[in-house]
C-alpha cells in the first residue's frame, strides 16, 4: 500500500490557529468566547470532509483512527482533522454534538456519518465515495 499517494492531501486544524498546517484555506481564527460546541460546529463545517481523530494523520494514536485515515486517504480527496486528545473540551463537545460516544468521527459536509465501523462498512460496499462526492445512493 502506498501511503504517500499524491492524490491525498490531508490537512490538519488544531486548537491553536498558529498550529494550522497544510495548504488548505486557513481556518478562521476561533472566537475565544465561542463555546466548545460552537467550535465543534465550526470545525465540522470547515471542510467537506472532516475527521475528529486521536492523534494526527502523520501519527494516529489509536488503531481505529489509523484505519479511518487509511480509508479516507484512499479516496484521494482533501480533508481536515482535529486531534481530540489535544483538547479535552472538544473531546467532550464532539461526543455531545454527534450524540456518538467514541472517536474517530467522520463528517461529510457538516453531517456526522459515523465512526470506524460505519466508515469501513460504507467503504467496503462502495457507498463512501458516493457519499463524499455527493451522489445519491443507488
Amino acid at each position: 500500500m502506498n501511503d504517500e499517494s499524491p492524490r491525498a492531501h490531508p490537512f490538519r486544524i488544531a486548537s491553536h490557529p498558529a498550529a494550522v498546517t497544510g495548504n488548505s484555506q486557513p481556518v478562521r481564527e476561533p472566537d475565544p468566547h465561542a463555546s466548545p460546541l460552537e467550535r465543534v460546529e465550526r470545525m465540522v463545517g470547515s471542510a467537506d470532509l472532516f475527521l475528529f481523530i486521536k492523534g494526527t494523520p502523520e501519527e494516529p494514536l489509536c488503531g481505529f483512527s489509523a484505519n479511518v485515515l487509511r480509508i479516507i486517504d484512499s479516496l484521494g480527496v482533501p480533508y481536515k482533522t482535529f486531534d481530540v486528545l489535544s483538547d479535552e473540551s472538544i473531546r467532550v463537545a464532539g461526543k455531545e454534538y454527534s450524540a456518538w460516544p467514541t472517536f474517530p468521527q467522520v463528517y461529510v459536509r457538516g453531517e456526522f456519518i459515523g465512526g470506524n465501523d460505519i466508515v469501513s462498512e460504507l467503504a467496503a460496499e462502495g457507498g463512501l465515495r458516493q457519499l463524499v462526492e455527493g451522489h445519491e445512493h443507488g
Binding site: A99, P101, T102, F112, G114, D117, E121
Partner: protein, 89 residues
C-alpha cells in the same frame, strides 16, 4: 462476570428479538466485537442501526469500562445468509 458476558446479556435483554454475539478482540476484555442481528434494523440507515445498539452500551462506554466496540448490525435474514456462507462457528 466478564464484560463480554455482561454486554452479551445486556443487549439480549434490551433487544429481545436479536441474536447477539460478543467476542473479546484483544484478550483484555475491553475491546469487544459485537454482532447484533435483528429485524428492528430493517429499513433503518446504518448510522441509526449503530446508534440504537450503542445507546444500550452508553454507560459502559462512558465509564470506559469498555474501551472500544467494533459493531456489526445485520437483519436476521442476512445473519442466516452469513451463517450459511461461513458455516457454523
Amino acid at each position: 462476570m466478564s464484560r463480554v458476558q455482561n454486554v452479551q446479556e445486556l443487549l439480549a435483554a434490551r433487544m429481545p428479538d436479536a441474536i447477539v454475539e460478543v467476542r473479546d478482540m484483544t484478550g483484555t476484555d475491553d475491546h469487544l466485537a459485537v454482532l447484533v442481528a435483528s429485524d428492528i434494523f430493517i429499513g433503518k440507515p446504518l448510522l441509526d442501526q449503530h446508534r440504537l445498539v450503542m445507546s444500550h452500551l452508553q454507560q459502559q462506554l462512558d465509564t470506559a469500562e469498555v474501551h472500544a466496540v467494533r459493531l456489526k448490525t445485520v437483519t436476521l435474514d442476512s445473519y442466516h445468509e452469513r451463517q450459511l456462507k461461513e458455516g457454523p462457528r
